[in-house]
Amino acid sequence: MNGRGADAGGGRAETLAERQAGLVAALTAGAPVPEGFDGRLVGVARVALLRKRAGDVAWQWPLLAAGHGAEWTGTFARWAARRPTNGSLRDGWDFARELGAALPALAGAELAAREAEWRYDGTSAPRRRRGPAVRRAGGVVAVQIAGRVRVLRRTPAAGRA
């Protein structure tokens, strides 16, 4: 041990596991950059990671991303900056739910259809629903019966309420 950045404070050298965890926390959860690292470069890596996550979520949730247009990467990256990934499917789902009324109309159908087809408790992997379901999101209603999903849009006048 050369001691650089390896002291946990109590005189005990940090283990590799602890140091790796500290680095992951800095990259994914807004924790301070561990001592000894180039803060600028770790910051560059953090931003690149968020850009990659935004791209992965856009692949899983194309209408959620399209609904944000050119703002997608920046908007998602701000939301994700202190939230470690749970995989792009769940990340996009959590983000879409949190948007609530701010969910772009385009993304409403996508979210409502998934909510009708899958049961997702926000903490573990989504599971396909066994029974029928009706779910609303962004002014769109999705009806799922026997695994088939139909999306019902409100009339434009009603949707502008």
């Binding site: 390896a6 140091r19 680095l23 992951v24 926390a25 959860a29 690292f37 560059v44 990671l49 470690p84």
Partner: protein
């Protein structure tokens, strides 16, 4: 890997049709985590194995460089996928992807220290114990280094390969990215690693953000990376080289041109 496969491509669902139409293809790679070891193969992939194309599972979530032991279920999955595909080998990264129960979402560098070499070697051995075929290890492109690096990259990689008997998956785009970002000569690493241990080679494109070149796999392959393919092939031509593309897929003609450029730089026949 003694067989010469020539030029291959990373199989992805989005380009399955394009890959299926490559008449000379003998080598492809698939993301191991996207294949079920017992269920049906993704549409198109079974046709490739059926016509004798070697398909290598490429793991991205094993975290061989993690201080914790690799998760047995992930190792079993990789071994199962290799059997399912009849693969001649598997590959994974010298990197860690999670720590303290948190997923990083990306491949992160391990320190080039004795302690980290020991951790990587232990995890590679745990993985090899479950595999029926050899494993090739891929060094990653790292945007930053650890403050406690004790070895240069060549010594670090050589020691891991020597102690595990693993093969090398050399990503020339990573070599280029690391050299460009550190201000060193890309070809210098070729003098420092055992080129006769190269199982195959990744070729990909990247882009510059914030003054740093990122190995994105979503951009065109730069001339400098093709030059490195030519340099490597002149010294010790690898048995296979493959194009890695993971998004922003260009028209088929552009992908064909990239495959042809790799063939030309390495001296292998075109597969298009």
């Amino acid at each position: 890997m003694s067989t010469e496969y020539g030029v291959g491509i990373g199989w992805r669902p989005e380009i399955a049709g394009f890959v299926a139409d490559l008449p000379g293809l003998r080598f492809a790679e698939v993301v191991a985590e996207s294949v079920h070891p017992h269920g049906d193969l993704p549409p198109g992939l079974d046709e490739l194995t059926g016509r004798g194309v070697a398909v290598v599972p490429h793991g991205i979530r094993l975290s061989l460089g993690g201080a914790e032991p690799v998760e047995p279920a992930r190792v079993q999955h990789l071994a199962g996928v290799a059997r399912r595909l009849g693969a001649p080998l598997v590959s994974e990264h010298i990197a860690f992807v999670r720590a303290g129960g948190v997923e990083a979402g990306h491949l992160l560098p391990v320190p080039r220290s004795r302690e980290a070499v020991d951790a990587v070697v232990a995890n590679v051995r745990r993985t090899q114990a479950e595999l029926d075929v050899p494993i090739a290890l891929e060094p990653i492109a790292a945007v930053f280094d650890w403050p406690d690096d004790e070895m240069d990259e060549g010594a670090f990689l050589t020691e891991i390969l020597d102690r595990t008997g693993a093969l090398l998956l050399l990503d020339v785009a990573n070599v280029y990215a690391n050299a460009r970002n550190r201000g060193t000569a890309p070809a210098a690493l070729l003098d420092r690693v055992p080129l006769e241990r190269v199982a195959y080679v990744h070729v990909a494109g990247g882009a510059e953000h914030d003054g740093i070149y990122h190995d994105t796999h979503t951009d065109a392959v730069p001339e400098a990376v093709l030059a490195l393919v030519a340099e490597l092939s002149a010294r010790h031509r690898p048995p296979a080289l493959m194009l890695e593309r993971d998004g922003d897929y260009p028209p088929a003609a552009a992908l064909r041109a990239e495959l042809d450029a790799i063939a030309q730089a390495s001296g292998y026949p075109a597969v298009t």
